[in-house]
Amino acid sequence: MKPEDLARSLPPVLAPVLLGVEAFPGFAARVRFRREGALDVFRAIHDLGFTHLAMIGGIDWVDHREVIYTVWSDEARTYLLLSTDVPADDPRVESAVPVWPSANWHEREAWELVGITFDHHPDLRHLLTPDGYAFHPLLRSFKIHEPEELEVKTRHV
């Protein structure tokens, strides 16, 4: 599946939210989209046969953050990369759980480690860090704390 073919097979109503479909090494293509139309893009991609969500990740580019989704198609035997940019002062995007239920824990992890909020997530709790953990440790602004300082700030009920 070439990027041009994929761009043609996406429904035309998505044109306002699609920012580009380009080649990307290791993937069939990289689809960039605006976060406002995230759920529509997820549904369209899922209808193309990409039924398995392999990974959700967050990247901190300091001036903005990026959410990436890796999806897999059993029919085309290929991965597809979806990505959207979110501003650093308002890092939120629509949850992919209605389309891919396996997004649940991936989004919890991206929320607690990179600080990206997923709207309408059914259960946005801490996954790897304790409840009440006050940091987003994979952000570039996170400083390595002295153990004692971390202990005081992390001590939970």
Binding site: H126, L128, T129, P130, P137, H145, E146, P147, E151, T154
Partner: protein
């Protein structure tokens, strides 16, 4: 094998660390001179008459309270039941110590699956803040008297992950630790060495 002692006691017992291997043969100061208490093992049919004779004399001489403590220490140090749980790669060495080659059951150490049946917690691996309150719950569920061994560098002081965002820098921040075992991971011999050190500490226990 002449390895350096891998297990160390807390600093307050520092003077006794050097000679804990040699202590086993020496009578402990302050321990009542009861013949059978210095014997580590007896046949069952020899034990009952020996214990009966020794106890009857001693109760008459010294009263009950002075007698109970060494008996409990003697029984407790020869039947340490660690909690059967693993946190990280040290748990593999923990499991190997109970295999055929090292056979920790020689020392009466039998892992139990319930904290209610355990009197020893071997913290074998990296303790994260996520698991910290579960570790404390398990510790509080264990009946008294109970002991804790911090096995490996991670449980002792956080190890290479000491400054990580999710790691408790030493399990002694959560529960009191009796014996620290160094190593990453410690070999089963080192774990057995730590258990033997703990047995000498229990032998000196007064209250």
């Amino acid at each position: 094998m002449t390895a350096t002692p891998a297990a160390v006691a807390p600093p307050k017992n520092a003077s006794k660390v050097e000679s804990h291997r040699a202590d086993a043969e020496l009578p402990m100061a302050g321990e009542p001179a009861v013949p059978f208490l210095e014997i580590e093992a007896l046949r069952a049919r020899e034990f009952i008459p020996a214990a009966k004779e020794a106890l009857t004399d001693l109760i008459a001489e010294q009263g009950q309270s002075k007698l109970i403590r060494p008996v409990f220490n003697w029984a407790g140090r020869n039947s340490l039941f660690p909690l059967h749980w693993g946190l990280a790669c040290c748990a593999i060495e923990f499991a190997a110590a109970f295999g055929a080659r090292w056979d920790a059951e020689r020392f009466g150490v039998v892992p139990r699956s319930s904290p209610r049946q355990s009197d020893l917690m071997i913290v074998n691996g990296t303790v994260t803040w996520k698991v910290a309150h579960k570790l404390i719950t398990l510790y509080e569920q264990m009946p008294e008297p109970k002991w804790v061994i911090a096995m490996g560098n991670c449980a002792t002081g956080g190890g290479p992950f000491r400054t990580a965002y999710s790691v408790v820098p030493g399990v002694d921040k959560l529960v009191p630790v009796d014996v620290y075992i160094a190593g990453c991971p410690p070999r089963p011999e080192a774990m057995l060495d730590g258990i033997l050190l703990l047995e000498t500490l229990i032998r000196e226990r007064k209250e």
